[in-house]
Symmetry: C2
Subunit: 326 residues, 2 copies
Amino acid sequence: MARDVMVGVDIGGTNTVFGLVDEDGRCLVESSIPTRSQEDAVSFVSRLAGEIVALHSPLAGEVELRGIGVGAPNANYYRGTVETPPNLDWPGVTPFVDLLRAFIDKPVVITNDANAAALGELRFGAARGMRDFIVITLGTGLGSGIVCNGELVYGHDGFAGEMGHTLVEANGRACGCGKHGCLEAYGSASGIRRTIFQLMCDRREESDLRRVSFQQMTAKMISDAAAKGDVLACAAFEFTGQILGRSLADAVAYTSPEAIIMFGGLANAGEVLFAPTRRALEEHVLPIFRGKVKVLPSGLPEGNSAVLGAAALAWTEHLKGAPARG
Amino acid sequence: MARDVMVGVDIGGTNTVFGLVDEDGRCLVESSIPTRSQEDAVSFVSRLAGEIVALHSPLAGEVELRGIGVGAPNANYYRGTVETPPNLDWPGVTPFVDLLRAFIDKPVVITNDANAAALGELRFGAARGMRDFIVITLGTGLGSGIVCNGELVYGHDGFAGEMGHTLVEANGRACGCGKHGCLEAYGSASGIRRTIFQLMCDRREESDLRRVSFQQMTAKMISDAAAKGDVLACAAFEFTGQILGRSLADAVAYTSPEAIIMFGGLANAGEVLFAPTRRALEEHVLPIFRGKVKVLPSGLPEGNSAVLGAAALAWTEHLKGAPARG
């Protein structure tokens, strides 16, 4: 008998990755295409659909394709749309689910990448068996996926989980969203880049990072420098962890999660980030929550965590028997 | 045929109110007893149970008592306990549900008053038909009840919804919880009392409120003064609304509610509080949420809203057929 699989698709700013994932979270095959920021949505979806069919065809006898889950920036779960995504030339509201179903007649469901990551952790990763937890994705931006009572929180309009745009500093750093002082402007890969330059201004210690321009600086460089004991790089992680931990203390006050999972590029820095985050969380959290909340790394394999998350979305819809759309 | 009713019990610091509530949210009879802060829990529960039986007996042929819902400070839904409540002399963990069931053998369920208020609004009040909303209770403290996907968020340990203890001002006012800068220290009835004295320090305008001591000052006095155009009192509400609106903008980023309901004593001040709250919410909220979130007053009758909330908890458990305890 053919094994049921879902397609997981993660649309990133540079590459779109997709793969076939079975119910146990095994990624059977995976491929990717460049995303091409100038391409229009119809042409992109047509190209993506062709590649999915090409990936699936050689396995057609062995696996039964049951549905497609998509993680994409500014995706709306309820409407099946992608709405004015920041890094793509798709103006207005793109009916992504309808477009993809015009090429492949299977149930299609979509949400943003942080929500997909939360469902991936719930089904296949560090949150297996949990009913209440939060995933924060630390990439260029800071996303979050919140699970309460075993269900992802989409909110009444499908856009819940924007923890990156909660306030951490009144009149603080300008954020890409147009506001000032958002968590994302401090606690993300782009945030720690801003922090290292702030520290170079404020302090006098020498550092190899002083030779790097703002444009060239990456979170990976700061992480590598911290691993070698660079004082400013270590201080940047300390500051970032303090801001994150203080915000996570607020998140705990809202939904009292069993665990908070830190996911994505910046989280790979490891203890240099996790240690100050845990310390600040415990320091700022309401006493009744102290010592209760785990701060964990992702439990998904690093290489295809985004595909597993998107596939988990499709599995979740399939198993509850009621896809939101299609 | 006898009509099914639930008992709703609200345990306040001064009085405990209880009544019989039918499925349509009609409160058939209601009564109250003083709470007596020095009394131990067993003696209190014994007294309460006797009064409930006395309230129910005259109606025994007409109504069928199906369960009891209790709203109490520091109540834990999952464990059926009240844990070190701030205004009662009940040390440690009181197994409230088990105690009450020893006197009245019906399903008993308990949660804190803000969660009960949220269930009251959902079943009988301003949130009927909504799946995602937040209730904040503005009394001496600031409580919150969060509903996502149609279900109250209890969190993994039963203590979710502590929005009053999220950070609004780093190193700000001391809060009763032991932290500094919590929302509760600004956005509650006790918070606005602190604010009016801050304004008397900072500004020079005359005000009748300058004749009132800190101890004697109440939110009601400030509200009455504002209604007469007192400049400082109006400024105190403006400041309070700004802090509340900014925090609500963060709450929207977390769970994207359809509405936020402001409930309790301070909310009775009306537009003088609601107008600046709405303005600050719209100013600080992420652009994708602008113009989407309603800020509403309670839709429960003022006199017995707490009893209706507690009864709604019992009805919710009864109708889902699986009481958490008992």
